[in-house]
């Protein structure tokens, strides 16, 4: 027999799941530290690729200078500078990522709390019927 209360509850839950809830559930399946670490690592990879692209453009822009002065340039100092800038950018971007993903994790958890409450309620409705 159809149970009105249960259908209402399930509709609400399914509607939540379809409107961003699934994404939150995916986030909620991680521990906080794990989720943030994975996202920060992904961010570091992204920023490394972006830095690489920027570096290639920089080299191409100054290609003629590099080719002319290749023996005059202190390559070690140049590499140090490149790595220093890379480090600063990665750290800054990592901190921003950490903050963004900490916020999104806590937001997802907060939103899931209500979903889990509904789940408990649904469970009790099934139990009552049984």
């Amino acid at each position: 027999m159809l149970h009105e209360e249960r259908i209402k509850l399930m509709t609400r839950m399914e509607s939540y799941a379809q409107n961003g809830g699934n994404k939150n559930m995916q986030i909620g399946s991680y521990f906080r530290g794990d989720y943030i670490s994975i996202q920060v690592i992904k961010s570091v990879v992204s920023v490394t690729i972006a830095y690489g692209i920027g570096f290639v453009l920089y080299v191409l822009y100054h290609l003629e200078t590099f080719l002319e002065d290749i023996y005059k340039i202190d390559l070690l100092a140049f590499a140090k500078n490149v790595l220093l800038y890379y480090g600063v950018i990665v750290v800054a971007y990592g901190i921003i990522s950490y903050l963004v993903y900490s916020y999104s994790y806590s937001k997802a958890k907060k939103s899931l709390k209500k979903y889990y409450d509904h789940l408990k309620k649904l469970n009790s409705l099934y139990r009552d019927q049984a």
Binding site: L2, K8, T11, Q18, I49, Y61, V100
Partner: protein, 419 residues
């Protein structure tokens, strides 16, 4: 005004019932306009500068996720750049990739802003963007608007230097790259616009969030003035050759558009018909949840409690935005009868959370209907109205949906919410 609000309610009703058609059509139109502008402005590759190709791409965008409009736009612009010169396409690809890698991981939804900003530049109405994003977005929108501005100026630079690029020899790779990169990095007008837009977005956002009367209107006017002043100062300092008359006219138009946005965007909850499928041990359920909206204006009473206790009745507008309506009168068929403990020191967010503890859905097994009684922005405004008023003379606002409301001088309020 009531007439306008009723039109708004009717539009919402129409939207909620026909959302399944309206969204694909809107996506199709946006994609079509974007690709047509790209083809019309850049158009170096004649094989994709054809109506059937644009129509096919726009049709694909109409049912694919909205990010595909951005994807198709990027592909079309890169193909045109490639037809002009491979180096141009390479620089364009690098620019897009850097933007994608650095920013759109965080907020993929903002990608639409990157499309809309160049489009508004193309139709000479760019000043709408910072005000609109300040009203509807967050400070993070600064980055997406800045990327949009950069893309517009990059494409403009490509178009402006197309003759020079095509006249260069194929061997002059570095010269072409230098020409393009210099075009982006040394464009003062672009820098001034990015800075002005960024400050405008933040100013509009901060004022819009303030708990003051007419915060939205104040925000948009302040934003428009800030934007205009910064553009003029930037023009004077960096000699960007900006059209002053164009900036003033553009700002006035931006204000009008922002006012329209306020009308449709403020206190909005475009509840929509939802179709959900789920199952339990006994049944498969295919549920269509239809929003239960009313067009009729409601009446509410504002009750002031101070030394001169007065009761003011007012005909409320349908959205209940000017006073602290916490709920929205709808044709109720089901009483929830829950009690909310409301403390004026609660943040709007808390209040919203509390209110949403209530059931939104009412109905039966055949027709499950959804009813959104409380709106976040409404709650935002209500909370600020409560805080503000309580600080002065202690005002409670009764939305006339219940009789059982208690108040005392410690500003503890209990509401009976009737759905």
């Amino acid at each position: 005004m009531t007439g306008l609000l009723e039109i708004k309610e009717k539009l919402k009703l129409m939207y909620s019932r026909n959302e399944v058609f309206i969204i694909p059509i809107a996506k199709f139109l946006l994609a079509f306009v974007t690709l047509t502008i790209i083809n019309g402005r850049i158009g170096y590759m004649s094989s994709i500068d054809k109506l059937p190709i644009v129509l096919i791409a726009a049709l694909l965008c109409s049912f694919l996720p909205i990010g595909f409009i951005v994807f198709f736009s990027a592909v079309f612009s890169l193909l045109h750049m490639y037809a002009l010169s491979m180096e141009v396409a390479l620089v364009g690809l690098c620019l897009y990739l850097i933007m994608f890698l650095l920013f759109f991981r965080f907020s993929p939804k903002d990608s639409l802003v990157v499309i809309l900003t160049p489009i508004l530049f193309a139709v000479k109405m760019p000043y709408i963007m910072p005000i609109a994003m300040g009203l509807l977005g967050t400070p993070a929108s600064v980055v997406s608007v800045a990327f949009g501005v950069m893309i517009y100026y990059f494409l403009s630079h490509v178009i402006a230097s197309s003759t020079a690029i095509s006249s260069m020899d194929a061997g002059e790779v570095t010269a072409k790259l230098r020409l393009l990169i210099d075009g982006i990095l040394s464009n003062r007008e672009m820098v001034v616009i990015i800075a002005a837009f960024a400050v405008t977005i933040i100013v509009v956002y901060l004022i819009r969030r303030m708990s003051a009367d007419h915060a939205w209107t104040t925000a948009m006017v302040a934003g428009a003035i800030t934007n205009l002043v910064l553009l003029l100062v930037g023009d004077l300092v960096y000699d960007t050759n900006m059209s002053v008359l164009g900036a003033i006219l553009g700002t006035v138009i931006a204000l009008l558009v922002a006012k329209m946005l306020e009308f449709f965007g403020f206190c909005v909850d475009y509840s929509r018909t939802e179709k959900v499928q789920f199952e339990d041990d006994d049944y498969y359920y295919y549920v269509k949840a239809v929003p239960k909206l009313t067009v009729a204006a409601q009446t509410k009473t504002v009750k002031k409690i101070n030394t001169q206790s007065t009761t003011v009745s007012s005909k409320a507008n349908a959205s209940g935005r000017n006073s602290g309506t916490l709920g929205r009168s709808t044709s109720a068929s089901h009483t929830v009868g829950s009690r909310l403990d409301f403390d004026p020191s609660d943040s709007a967010e808390d209040l919203f959370e509390d209110l949403f503890e209530e059931d939104d859905f009412i109905g039966n097994s055949r027709n499950v209907v959804t009813q959104r009684t409380v709106y976040k922005r409404n709650a935002d405004r209500s909370a600020s109205a409560f805080r503000r008023n309580n600080g002065q003379h202690g005002v409670t606002i009764n939305n006339n949906m219940n009789d059982d409301m208690a108040e005392d001088n410690d500003f503890d309020y209990n509401f009976e919410e009737l759905e």
